[in-house]
Structures are given as C-alpha cells and as structure tokens.
Amino acid sequence: MALTRSEVHDIAHLARLEITEEEMPVYADDLSGIIDLVNQLQAVDTEGVAPMAHPLDMSQRLRRDEITECDQRTLYQRNAPQVETGLYLVPKVIE
C-alpha cells in the first residue's frame, strides 16, 4: 500500500515532526514499505481472540496515598532549556 505525500504530511503533523519537502518522498516510500510488512496481519483469523495488551497476567498495583517524594524542582529544572522563577518558558500561547 503506497502512502501519498499528503497522508505522510498529515501523519507528521499528528506526530509533531517537521519533515522537509525533500524528505517527504523518502518517508512516503519507507512508511509504505513498513505498512506493507505489517499488512500481513490482516489475513490472520483472530475471531474470538482477546487482545493482549501486556505480557504478564497481572492487574495494576495500587499504593497507599502517601507523600513519598520531596520537592526537587530546582534540580530537575537544570535540564530545562528555558526557565524563569521556577517556571518553564514557552512561546506565547494566548494572545
């Protein structure tokens, strides 16, 4: 199945990835090849088979609602590209 340029453009937008016009045909080819590979699953009869989301037959563990972590904001924000007075800065969102 060949994906069109415009489909790849839409997928890249959903994934928040900038793909240049020159790269577009390469990704269209590559993704089409990958989709062809995974399309073999369509022919498998899975009527009545329960989807397997997780390899261990276990349920999600709960813990007591207790405070276990201390505030390490300053330490964590050392890796941030731009912070001011303890806040992460991003381009203006609301005009």
């Binding site: 959903l14 995974v38 699953l41």
Partner: protein, 482 residues
Amino acid sequence: MHRRTITELARHLRDKDISSAELTNHFLERIDAKDPGLNAFITVDPERALARAGEMDGVLAKGEGGPLTGIPIAHKDIFCTKGMKTSCGSRMLDNFISPYDATVVERLQDAGAVVLGKTNMDEFAMGSSSETGFFGPVRNPWDTQRVAGGSSGGSAAAVAAGLVAGATGTDTGGSIRQPAAMTGVTGLKPTYGRVSRYGMVAFASSLDQGGTLTATAEDAALLLGIIAGFDPKDSTSADEPVPSYLANINESLEGLRIGVPAEFMDERLDAGIAQAVKDALSVYAAAGAELKSISLPNVGLAVATYYVVACAEASSNLSRFDGVRFGHRCKEPKDLMDLYKRTRGEAFGAEVKRRIMTGTYVLSAGYFDAYYLQAQRVRQLISADFRRALEEVDVVVGPTTPTPAFELGEQLDDPVAMYLNDIYTTAVNLAGLPGMSIPCGMTNGLPVGLQIIGAPFAEAKLLNVAHRFQQESDWHRSFPDE
C-alpha cells in the same frame, strides 16, 4: 586481566592479586587504545571510575563487600545515571544530565560495581545494528567493517573486545540477544517485569526489559541476582521471589527436554549458522538432553506484530520530548507548534521518525482496530504458541539471528530488511519470556549465537542450560584479535 570473567576477577580482588584501581586503570587503558576503532562508548568517565575504584579498594581491604565489589562495568546509555550524561544515543538528550539513578544502576552501585562509562546504541534503542545513533556506528570487534548488532551494540562490542568486564543492556525485540550473537558474548534478556524499568528510557513499555551482556552465563547469573527483583517505582515490576541464580547453574542436563522449532530452522537461515546450531544441539544430546521438534505456527507473524505494537508504544512514549522540560530545543521558535515540530524534527534521527510516524498511523482514528487491536490479538496467538510448547519441553532452542554480522551501511536504507534481522527474537518479547544468546560457533570468521528461551521466570533454568554448554565448549573463550 581483561579476558578473565567477573567471577574470576572477583577472586583476584579478594586474594589481593590486583586492586580495583589497577583493574580499572587496565580497562581504561584498553578503552583508550581500542575504542577509537570501535566507538562502543558514548561517555567514559575515568576520574569518577578511579575515585570509585579507590573507595572499593578500601571496602575490600577491610574484607568486606560482595562478588561485584570493585568490578569495572558499563551501562548502556539508556539507563539514567545520576550526574552523568544519559543521551539514549540521541541528539535529543545530548545535553541531558540525569538527576537520578535507574534502579538497575542503583542496585549495581550498591553491590560495589565501578562504572567506567556509558555505551553506544541505536537511537532510543530503535535498530538492529547500532548504526542509527547520533554518536555514529558501533563497529564489530571481529571485523570492524561490520556492525556489532543492536541496539545494545556498544555494550556487546565492549564486552567482546575486553574493554569492560560486563555491561547492562536492554531488549525490546532482540536488542540484547542479537548483538550478543553477532559479537560472540553471552546476552540475557529476563522475563518481562523481572528487572525494574525505572530510569530506563522508555521505548515500548509492554516489551522493554533490562538485562546483561557478559563473557559467561555464570557472570550473567551473578549480575541478574543483583538487578532482578520487585521495585515499587515500576508499576509493571513483578513481585516474584528472586532465586539464587548460581545455586543450580551446574545441574546435570540429563532428561532435559529441548524443543527445536521447525519455524526457526527454515530456508532464511544462513547455512553456517544452521550448522553451528545443529552442532550445539548434538552437544546437548550428548549431555543427556532429549531433543524434540516442535512447532510455533504463528511465530512467522512476530516481526509484523512487533512493529505495530512497538511503534505504537514508541509514538506515545516519545511524545514527552517536547523541547520544554528537558532535552533539545530548536532556536527561536515562533509559536508552540513550531517549537514542538522543529525541536523533534531536528533532534530525532530518521529511524526514530519512521517509527514515531508508523506508530501514529496505526493508532490514528480509522486504523486503530485494523492495525493495533489486530496486532494485540495476534500477539495473544504467538504467546499461546509458546505456552503450549513450554508444557511439552523445558526450553526452546534455536538460532538467535538469521545471518552473522552484516557490513556497515548494508541495510541502513532498507528499514524492512533491517527489521527482518529480528525474526527469531521479537516473538520472545511479545510473549514476555526470558531469552538468552550464547556463542555456539563461527561462520566465515564471525560468531554465531544460540538462542535459549524458557517459561516466565525460568531464568535459573536458562542459565543452567547455558552454563552447561559453556562447560562443554570453548566458543565463549574465543576472542577477536587483540
């Protein structure tokens, strides 16, 4: 000294034949001399390693410490290491200094290991050749024109070349076993949930599992005993007791039932590898094991299933890299959308982008049922194949890879060809089972890996099966030219 196992080195340290500082210096010198030709390391920290070695010599002098005290190891650069760069092989995290230790790192630290540095890998562990990373390809110590396998290729190459006594790795679809096979070392991927994923940069959360690359099964047993076990910080960590992996490692294989899947020995398998696997099976037969031909009818669907599940989970996991809280940020973003798109467009490599987009596609409205849900159903079928087989046999044995190490660049432009390197390994992750690869022969001067697969939490059995083979053969003691 660099050809001794961890078990042997521990004895030398205890007997004061050598100090941890001397040992650490020796490995650091080997890294200096050999790594420029291999590129197995992203970060080497001699100062920190030597300070730590000195500290461990103090512990040993008092007659204290355990079997790992003072032993030089390395971590795959996917494990968060406090105060050290943790790049995951990506430009995205090239500037990331981890503020905390992964549980695996912490446990090995508590056991007295000396960390020499962080090893090279495919970007975000996405690859089967350790060529997709931002820091350049890892080269195979057996032939530097060839790949070391991936994604834990740096750890595998470092152990194979004697640059470190043992290393950590992670395996989502074969990323410990495949590079172990291609470099002639022992790779162990434990049962899903056996080893904590806390602090391991996430790729595909229902498949990822941490493990080890070592010279021998005995060393793997030693390390697994340290890193395995329940961790409240990982919600998928298994609350199962950790047995002594060394206690029964030497048990006789008399009466062991080995299943050999017909699907693993088909025409896609390289003839030299097929021969080495058959020879290994006769070693087991001679040791009293019973060989049975078995069938895993759905295993041929594993690669397709894997690339749906793994890409879907990756596209979700990697959405955290947004240029806001940590990691790369593009210059002068004009608005928030531009910030996200350019940051991610600039800092992710081609393979990571392909997988994020594949995952986005299979999860998108209108395709979710046809791809993702269908893949989860086929995953159930593959898992059931193994469950049935493992009722009849104790372990499943076959090749780890369809071919030996291929040439650098050979498959880089053909993602589907690259994915087919994982035909024998991905099914094990889908089923959540433990798997190992041990060296079992050579073909055209390149190592061949034997894969051993077991029931959930049967690591002790796998290690026993691997160790007994290493008592009967010398493949794990054959090394690339110095």
